[in-house]
């Protein structure tokens, strides 16, 4: 018999613990520092308006495993145990001072912006006594004895640096593995974090900042963890509070979290088990019991057909404790959601491949669109609220029109799943839109799209081509139940059906998958491999484009010189 050579070494660093390794990352053994580098030659992005030059690459340090986690020396590749979820670095950018705001666009539904839960007196916020003084969370994070938080490392000159804060400064909050870092991107030593929180086991997966309450002395951040727990954190006073503690309301990981627009206290969290939950940062948790009108298995069964099951309505009288509202959308992961700029709609993308547009104020799903195939991963709105852009496991970025309720174009150019999409409001106007996308293919793509420029592809073989995929086979028992709308290729589930069983009108329009032959295809204006690891976040600033990656590389590109002066196109 011949002797086999040993398998070639693949992991230069021993894989230290399961959680870190679950996304393929090597995990260090000791605590290290962030490193900033200025790659020579850079990674220029060439577009019509000029060249974006790479300013720097800040590499966040991955923390070592918590001492309580036994190192796994030789992992069994077939181990069937659950792997804890984790996510790549996502940045939260906060400009405190008087940096100019993002350009605003006229919104269709102008007027007073409605607030979620307005109609419910039980939700009326208590009268604030002390004027402008914001309420802070109760517990001091530095002195915390919680088993959830391992330790907190603060910069020795943090307070001094906060006081000397440049009014144009830019803070960033970043999650990496079990660490959560507060960075001062405006300072000279931006690689030194102001504060680093190390959690025991949980990873922060998503976080958001309340724009309404933001000031130089107060920042409200909520972060959702892999354990399901949510932290409300105020970094300036270093105070925090825990919400959904030990998953009492929902014990599945928080995949996305956002403050409700226009609310000081309410935020929405998407959980991996398909539930959307609205929490109040001020309220205590309580064990959640669905508020069903007539709790029976039959009702539950009927509900399962609904695109949204309201397990607790915002209009519920019982508002003493969290959750404020709880909706179940599916039995699959909610990947992301996004509020429309006019604060009236909510776009949600799920692992089941659906994009659901909600009137969240009324707790109704208006439209369900479907990806070409595979799950959807990310979603955002155009600054004027007319378009929704999604990215998914079909390697496509897809543009949907809200007013027309249909797909506008599929954007082909990624070589792997699309992990984040964002519009560049500085390069958008009434007719043209600029957006970017990043993906698991380590690429950054930029796209321009204008209302008039899209063309449908050649239409040769239409007649026979779209048979199976585009037509929903109507249920043999109820051939007339669904009717296909000839103009929009959409389908409305008839109100009769639901009225019979559920007693209410179903407002949802379920759109069919458009065949390739009838959908416009948009190519990118720029495509560039920007790193060696999957990119998972993308952001546009007035003076820069930023991305962050799975392993913690934060890259910043300066905009072309001539493009800095105000909005509008220069090219």
């Amino acid at each position: 018999m011949f002797v086999l050579p040993p398998p070639p070494p693949r992991y230069t660093v021993p894989v230290a613990y399961a959680a870190g390794a679950s996304n393929g990352m090597a995990v260090p053994v000791v605590e290290t520092n962030n490193v900033i580098s200025h790659p020579e030659g850079g990674c220029p992005l060439q577009v019509g308006e000029g060249t974006y030059h790479l300013r720097d690459n800040l590499h966040l340090a991955t923390p070592p495993p918590h001492p309580s986690e036994a190192p796994i020396v030789n992992p069994n590749p077939l181990a069937t145990g659950p792997t804890p979820p984790t996510s790549g670095v996502k940045l939260l950018l906060v400009s405190i001072g008087n940096r100019s705001k993002t350009p605003t666009f006229p919104l269709s539904g102008a007027g007073t912006i409605p607030v979620f839960g307005e109609g419910n007196p039980a939700l009326a916020p208590p009268v604030v006594k002390e004027g402008l003084k914001r309420r802070k969370p109760k517990n001091n994070i530095i002195k915390s004895s919680s088993s959830f938080i391992s330790r907190v490392i603060t910069h020795e000159a943090a307070t001094k640096r906060l006081n000397d804060q440049n009014p144009d400064g830019l803070f960033a909050f970043a999650n990496i593995n079990r660490a959560y870092q507060w960075l001062d991107l405006g300072s000279k030593q931006k690689e030194e974090s102001l504060t680093k929180i190390l959690f025991t086991k949980a990873h922060i997966i998503s976080h958001d900042l309340n724009q309404l309450t933001k000031s130089s002395s107060h920042i409200d951040i909520v972060m959702g963890s892999s354990a399901g727990d949510i932290i409300w954190y105020e970094p300036i006073s270093q105070k925090y509070a825990r919400i959904n503690k030990n998953g009492v309301v929902n014990n599945s990981p928080v995949t996305h979290i956002k403050w409700l627009p226009g609310s000081e206290n309410l935020f929405m969290a998407a959980h991996a088990n398909g539930q959307l939950v609205v929490y109040d940062k001020e309220k205590e948790d309580a064990l959640f019991i669905p508020e069903l009108s007539s709790p029976s298995v039959d009702t539950v069964k009927t509900w399962s057909r609904q695109p949204l099951q309201v397990l607790k309505s915002v209009n519920s009288r019982n508002q003493k404790t969290n959750p404020v509202a709880l909706w179940k959308l599916a039995n699959q992961k909610i990947s992301q959601f996004s509020f429309s700029p006019d604060h009236r709609h909510l776009a949600i993308v799920l692992e089941d491949g659906s994009l659901r547009v909600m009137d969240y104020l009324k707790e109704e799903v208006l439209d369900i669109f479907r990806s070409y195939y595979g799950g959807l991963i990310c979603v955002c709105w155009s600054p004027d609220g007319k378009y929704i852009v999604t990215g998914g496991q079909d390697d496509l970025v897809t543009i949907w029109s809200l007013p027309e309720r249909k797909i506008v174009a599929r954007c082909q150019g990624h070589n792997s799943w699309v992990s984040a999409v964002a519009f560049d409001p500085w390069r958008c106007d009434e007719r043209t839109y600029r957006f970017g996308s990043v993906g698991d293919d380590c690429r950054l793509l930029l796209w321009d799209f204008s209302v008039g420029m899209l063309h449908r592809p050649r239409m040769h073989h239409q007649s026979s081509a779209r048979q199976r995929t585009s037509m929903i086979i109507s249920n043999p028992q109820h051939p007339s139940r669904h009717r296909a709308d000839s103009s929009g290729n959409r389908m409305r589930s008839d109100s009769q059906e639901t009225a019979d069983t559920y007693g209410s009108y179903d407002p949802t329009v379920r759109h069919l998958v458009e065949p390739r032959s009838r959908t416009a295809l948009l190519p990118p204006i720029m495509s560039k491999i920007v790193g060696d690891d999957p990119i998972c976040w993308l952001g546009f600033q007035e003076d820069s484009i930023m991305t962050s990656s799975l392993e913690g590389h934060i890259r910043t590109w300066d905009r072309p010189r001539e493009g800095i002066n105000g909005p509008g196109r220069t090219s």
């Binding site: 998953g247 669905p290 086979i473």
Partner: protein
């Protein structure tokens, strides 16, 4: 066996009256239930289509090994994983079982009593001793965690689980039934033997020994005789080609009787297998109908702009990989345009001369089952050998093909991932294969030789190639589906989880707080909820397999408990935590978590529990009822969509038939071997040189490309005398160009060998016709 007896006993304890065995209170403790057994308990009666059988496959070479104590590299996991993937393709399984005729279930059962072997203690002990030795000998088996002799056995290790499976589960051996099929023995008949044995088995779980199949395989293909590590994809391609060949050879042999059987048989089979997509196994083209697709290579001359096209068929697609890419992107790369220029010019018929041209390959006819081979083994110049690529290549649960021609029928066809063959190991010359398969109604299962384990849906995504442990997806099986079927499945999943939530919630309301440990939900998983829902159908389970108890003489003491023992719970500790996240279901929790609960909730009164139990039972009955109704609806919908599919398939048939006719012109032996299409641009150029230099105008070159100098002449020009230099072997060459002199010899011989055997069988055939 153990499982059957245990579940039997549980039933006895809970619902049915005693069967006559004496109740025994203290008995040797049976081994704890495996997760699979847990999942399958309380299932309804055994189905006839085999969709509810979950058999491990014995790694036969291990048993050889136990005797010889040589290092294990004769693993047949390559074969086990592929066979499992094929078995769980409903249309393929149905076709194999129904061709040429379906063996009546009674006669199968009769045969089964002979073939099903139950373990006895002595053998177990012996096996254990041998396994121990083997484990030591085997310590450096790549891919799997090394066994550590100094430690007590790790109950979670795959080795331990496989050993236990071998010791406790019924072992099926197949017998050559070729005569009863009216066929001469071939790889197809032994495959049919395997499938039929599993379908006919009264036990839902067990282990099947593919020894006979391997014997036939090794007899006919020398390359599988060697101790070398075999390639699962090569095996798949060979098996499919061989099945085509066997079936067609039979069809030529006896064309008339086959036709005569057709109507009656057809009616019968369609009744039995309504849900199967392929109900026409009587035609010999069923493999083609399932796996075969057509590729068109379009070459556009840049001088005269004339487009010339050439079609070829494939049984699977081999795609080149790139770091950080997706299957979608790999497929698209394969169809990317390619410039033919410089030394690589194209001979244009129209302009008459070498011209610059643009070439692309697109899919013209989409297969119903798309087998995608990810080319993870790549020859690297600097190392002078094949290397395994650990690129991260993501694959979605659903897929459509972007690279179709404009006139392709149904270019937006939706595929669903139903099986993944995973290669574990650092290189191409050694390693281990397992399969992860989505079963019809039991969610995803992991098949690792003898071991079968339910896994979470997310588990399928652990093999993109970026995780520690050297395990990567190697062959992906996508099967055709429809959006409606997908949405229906999602709806059902949603409902099951809602019902589970609801039950849980009502439990909470009634003062049963979940203990945090049990309530840990890790993900939106499909299986647990499914399990939950299906458990509800458990009460009306039919007492299974009356003849089985006759075998109990053979069983060891640990299996004796055939008593209606008043549901003595199996010991709790070693039970691996179920994949599921749901709180233990009522029925189970009554027995299993009693101890824990007693500890946690000592103050809770038993009376309270009783009330709760009764209430839950009522609820369950309701859920069960709804469940059944829902399933019936789902089935109806599926059938409807299947019917429409079948309709379309019928439309497919004529042109595929034509296709084959034109190709068969060379006579029985010159049958075109169907290759796996290897997709690589660089390689493509290589062979275009050949095409141009051969000066065959507009006879396009064969697509599967060979990077090695010993290029294979175009298939079309093959003389009938050497019909086997086809593409399946080419992929082999691609894989192993190292030392290709020796290898090539090794390759040639099986080819020649096979060719000989083929002509031999032909002679035999003609002989039989003459006589």
């Amino acid at each position: 066996m153990g499982s059957f007896l245990r579940s039997f006993r549980r039933d006895v304890g809970s619902s049915t009256p005693s069967v006559g065995a004496t109740p025994a209170k203290k008995e040797p403790q049976p081994p704890p239930m495996t997760p699979l057994e847990k999942m399958l308990q309380d299932m309804g009666s055994v189905r006839e289509d085999g969709s509810d059988k979950f058999f491990g496959m014995e790694n036969v070479s291990w048993s050889i090994l136990r005797l010889s104590l040589v290092a294990n590299d004769r693993s047949n996991s390559y074969c086990n994983s592929i066979l499992q993937c094929l078995y769980y393709s409903v249309p393929f399984r149905e076709a194999v079982i129904n061709y040429p005729t379906r063996t009546p279930i009674e006669s199968l059962e009769a045969a089964m009593t002979k073939n099903l072997r139950f373990q006895n203690v002595a053998a177990n002990l012996e096996a254990e001793a041998q396994a121990e030795k083997q484990r030591i000998a085997n310590a450096q088996r790549p891919g799997a965690p090394p066994a550590q002799p100094q430690k007590p056995e790790d109950k979670d290790s795959p080795e331990y689980k496989k050993k236990m499976a071998l010791q406790t589960l019924p072992l099926l051996e197949t017998k050559n039934n070729a005569v009863s099929y009216g066929m001469s023995e071939s790889l197809f008949t032994s495959l049919k033997d395997l499938f039929e044995s599993v379908v006919a088995s009264q036990s839902r779980i067990g282990i099947i020994r593919p020894q006979h199949f391997l014997d036939v395989l090794r007899r006919e293909h020398e390359m599988f005789r060697s101790a070398m590590h075999q390639d699962a994809h090569e095996f798949l391609n060979l098996l499919l080609n061989e099945v085509v060949a066997n079936v067609e050879a039979e069809a030529i042999k006896q064309p008339v009787p086959e036709r005569s059987i057709l109507p009656a048989e057809h009616a019968e089979s369609s009744e039995q297998s309504v849900s199967s997509g392929s109900k026409t196994p009587n035609t010999t083209r069923w493999v083609h109908e399932l796996f075969e697709g057509t590729l068109t290579s379009e070459t556009q001359c840049l001088t005269c702009e004339k487009v010339s096209q050439r079609d070829e068929v494939f049984l699977d697609l081999s795609v080149d990989l790139e770091q950080h890419s997706s299957v979608t992107s790999c497929l698209r790369k394969f169809s990317a345009e390619e410039m033919l220029c410089d030394r690589n010019k194209f001979h244009c018929d129209n302009c008459g001369g070498l011209q610059e041209a643009e070439k692309r390959m697109k899919i013209k006819r989409l297969p119903r089952i798309l087998a995608l081979h990810l080319k993870r083994f790549k020859y690297t110049e600097d190392l002078q050998r094949l290397q395994k690529l650990f690129h991260r290549v993501v694959y979605p649960y659903h897929l459509r093909l972007f690279n179709t021609t404009d006139d392709a029928e149904d270019p937006d066809r939706l595929y669903e991932l139903y099986a993944v063959v995973v290669h574990i190991g650092g290189g191409p010359y050694h390693g281990h294969y397992v399969a992860i398969i989505k079963t019809q109604d039991r969610g995803w299962l992991l098949f690792d030789d003898e071991m079968v384990e339910p896994v979470d849906k997310n588990y399928v995504r652990n093999f993109f190639g970026d995780k520690p442990g050297l395990a990567c997806a190697y062959v992906l099986f996508y099967q055709e589906t429809t959006m409606e079927a997908v949405m229906k499945e999602q709806e059902l999943e949603n409902m099951n989880s809602n019902i589970a939530d609801f039950n849980e919630a009502s439990m909470k309301q009634n003062g049963f707080p979940q203990s945090p440990g049990l309530a840990h939900v890790h993900s939106a998983s499909q299986i647990p909820t499914h399990e939950e829902a299906l458990r509800n159908t458990g009460l009306n389970r039919a007492p299974t397999a009356p003849q089985l108890p006759t075998h109990t003489e053979d069983t060891g003491p640990e299996n004796v408990p055939l008593s209606p023992a008043v549901a003595v719970p199996p010991p709790v500790p070693p039970i691996p935590e179920a994949v599921s996240s749901r709180p233990l279901s009522p029925k189970k929790s009554d027995v299993q978590s009693k101890k824990e609960r007693a500890k946690e909730e000592k103050e809770r009164k038993a009376a309270e529990k009783e009330i709760e139990k009764v209430r839950r039972k009522e609820q369950e009955a309701r859920v069960k009822e709804n469940q059944r109704r829902e399933e019936a609806e789902l089935k109806a919908a599926l059938e409807a969509s299947k019917a429409s599919k079948a309709d379309e398939d019928r439309r497919h048939v004529p042109d595929t038939g034509k296709d084959s006719d034109s190709k068969k012109s060379g006579g029985g032996l010159s049958r075109l071997k169907l290759g796996s299409k290897s997709i690589s641009q660089r390689l493509g150029k290589d062979k275009d040189v050949r095409a141009t230099s051969s000066g065959l105008p507009a006879v396009p070159s064969p697509e599967p490309s060979t990077p090695t100098p010993n290029s294979v002449p175009p298939e079309h020009t093959q003389p009938p005398s050497s019909p086997h230099k086809g593409s399946p072997k080419e992929s082999h060459i691609i894989h192993k160009p190292l030392g290709h002199d020796d290898e090539h010899d090794a390759l040639k011989s099986p080819k020649g060998d096979r060719g000989k055997w083929r002509s031999f069988s032909l002679r035999k055939k003609s002989f039989s016709i003459l006589s």
